[in-house]
């Protein structure tokens, strides 16, 4: 018996992912700006799905309030840009702000369990949304534009935003990937599998959860930054909408809760659905809600979890696998 992490498939695929990221970086040089804008939306979805999965899939923390950080990222960008810093610097500052705010929130929120945490986070998002609505400088309830981005020529602006989205996605995916592969990651996956058992083995559950919560705060903040950079206009009712949580839950449940690759698959699926049903509308949302509920009940490991189980496939390996030793090895 041997314990291994990499297989030939996963080596090829991980290399392929890196190549894909490089190829994606070339997209704005070749394609029209509407394609670039759509791909930026896809990257935002990937980022959100991966971050929500980090919380729920590994930390067992089901949040219905991650739109709090999306809103902080988006409104933070507008705020810093209004102070006179360059819009792209404002975007980095806003991401840091979202991550920083997640620390004090975590002190309080992580004491709550299950539904209390889920709805507690939702109420926190509502409180932040009300604070924004009360601030005339942030456009109050009617919304505000990121006018500072108009100084860039539209095609360049779209390209810069796309590269920023690509950089954020790669950075946060890589951060989670290496986090899960580190010795810390083993304890995170142990918490995912059985929190009480992990605690009894001496895993510092609270500290690990805080790490994931702050990572997700940064990540969702970054996604909010990208939302305002991609659409140039935000209003509290859309950017703080619980709809974001609905999308995140759909992507992660369909893709595969607690798997590394699943949320990426889920984001691509949601993106494909959104591009097909461009009118959106109630039927489309009925479908999303029903699918999410069905997956939660009938296929809790999602599409990717099921594929992984059936085929033993690992593309971006964060765990280990036990394989039968080959005959020649046993002989030796």
């Amino acid at each position: 018996m041997r314990v291994q992490r990499w297989t030939r498939t996963s080596k090829l695929f991980t290399a392929g992912t890196l190549v894909a990221a490089l190829v994606l970086a070339g997209v704005p040089l070749v394609f029209e700006s509407d394609v670039v804008q759509k791909l930026t939306t896809l990257l935002i979805l990937v980022l959100l799905a991966v971050m929500w999965n980090a919380l729920a899939g590994y930390g067992g923390l089901l949040s219905v309030g991650q739109q709090a950080f999306i809103g902080i990222g988006a409104y933070g960008t507008v705020f810093f840009a209004a102070q006179g810093v360059s819009p792209y610097v404002a975007m980095l500052l806003a991401t840091l702000l979202a991550g920083a705010i997640s620390v004090p929130i975590s002190l309080f929120a992580l004491r709550l369990r299950a539904a209390q945490f889920a709805i507690g986070m939702w109420v926190i998002a509502e409180v932040i949304s009300i604070l924004v609505r009360l601030d005339q400088n942030l456009g109050a309830g009617t919304g505000i534009s990121l006018i500072q981005l108009n100084q860039y020529e539209p095609n360049f602006r779209q390209a810069y935003t796309f590269w920023l989205a690509l950089a954020f996605t790669v950075i946060f995916l890589a951060a989670l990937f290496f986090l899960l592969r580190s010795p810390l990651g083993a304890s995170l996956q142990a918490i995912r599998d059985d929190e009480d058992a992990a605690r009894s083995l001496g895993v510092r559950v609270a500290a690990r959860k805080r790490l994931l919560f702050v990572l997700a705060g940064f990540g969702c903040g970054a996604a909010g930054v990208l939302v305002v950079a991609n659409t140039l206009f935000i209003e509290p009712s859309s950017v703080f909408s619980v709809q974001w949580s609905a999308y995140m839950i759909f992507m992660v449940l369909v893709g595969g809760l607690g798997t590394f690759e699943g949320p990426i698959l889920g984001a691509i699926l949601l993106f494909a659905i959104q591009t097909t049903f461009t009118q959106g509308g109630p039927w489309y949302l009925v479908g999303l809600g029903a699918t999410a509920a069905l997956f939660a009940l009938a296929l809790p490991r999602g599409l990717w979890g099921t594929i992984e189980e059936r085929l033993g496939l690992r593309l971006l390996p964060v765990g280990y696998r036990v394989v039968e030793a080959r005959r020649d090895e046993t002989a030796a």
Binding site: F108, V123, L297
Partner: protein, 291 residues
């Protein structure tokens, strides 16, 4: 004087929140789950009453008497089809499944009834307009008083049901320890289904009051869920009378908050909720815990 009036109106508003929260509290008490579609179920109840009123012209209260059995049956079926399954697989699954259900209900309501705002106020008779002026700054509305009386009677009836009837004992036993109850020959599935049926029926009553007090639309549910959950938490999760007091505390916080600034009403309720959570679960130990 305005503060006294704000408190009084807060009590009336809070009684409404307590009715909304009551079903949530029962389901948490019996099954330890929170139904994230609870607010949408209440709004669905309001729409069913609305349809009956529109078709037949009967007063809203009569229409509710017709809608109630439908909603109770719906709750029973909901438990046996969706919630029963979700109970078996961890604490997150019921939340995920009911969140999905919430989106489904909201958007089906959009499809059937359009996003227009509706109200039941016009079909509830003179109770919506009557009020008594106690002193110059203090007025008691008939509707507020009615909701308060109904809320108190509702909680008292539930208390009697749980403490005096056999079905109530069985429900309490199942809530205490479902496995032990099973050993004593109790079918926990049917107890859970009854609990959800009661909860959904009471949610419909909350929907009726929502429609009479103000207006509703297909996406009113999530806000009602948040207020209901806040009432449950403020009153202490799992405590029935606590939920009534929690609802009233939330209502008073909102109306007194509105005195400070109209936009501060909902905020004051949220802050009270978060403060209760901090006190109850923070326990003065707001330090970085490492283990």
């Amino acid at each position: 004087m305005t503060v006294a009036n704000a408190v009084l109106q807060g009590v009336f508003l809070g009684a409404f929140y307590a009715v909304l929260a009551c079903g949530l509290s029962i389901m948490f008490g019996v099954m330890r789950i929170i139904n994230l579609a609870h607010g949408d179920v209440a709004v669905l109840g309001a729409y069913i009453v609305y349809v009956i009123v529109e078709r037949t012209g009967v007063p809203a209260f009569v229409a509710f008497a017709v809608a109630l059995p439908v909603m109770v049956l719906l709750g029973y079926v909901l438990q046996l089809t969706v919630l029963e399954r979700s109970l078996k697989s961890g604490i997150l699954t019921p939340l995920l499944a009911t969140f999905g259900l919430s989106i489904v209900i909201q958007n089906l309501l959009q499809l059937v009834f359009s996003p227009d705002v509706r109200s039941l106020g016009g079909s509830a008779g003179s109770v919506t307009t009557a009020s008594w002026q106690v002193t110059s700054g203090l007025s008691v509305s008939a509707l507020g008083l009615l909701v308060l009386v109904v809320a108190v009677l509702l909680f008292a009836a539930l208390q009697l049901f749980l403490s005096k009837t056999r079905a109530g004992w069985i429900m309490r036993a199942t809530a205490e320890d479902a496995d032990a109850a099973e050993l004593a020959g109790i079918d926990s599935r049917s107890v859970y289904a009854r609990a959800t049926a009661i909860a959904v029926g009471i949610a419909a009553l909350g929907g009726l009051f929502l429609g009479i007090r103000s207006v509703f639309d297909p996406v009113s549910g999530p806000t009602q869920l948040i207020f209901a959950f806040e009432a449950v938490v403020i009153g202490g999760m799992g405590s029935l009378w606590g939920t009534l007091l929690g609802g009233i505390a939330l209502g008073v916080a909102q109306t007194v908050g509105a005195q400070i600034h109209p936009q501060f009403a909902v905020m004051a309720g949220h802050l009270l909720f978060l403060a209760v959570l901090i006190v109850r679960f923070g326990g003065g130990r707001l330090v970085l815990r490492t283990a």
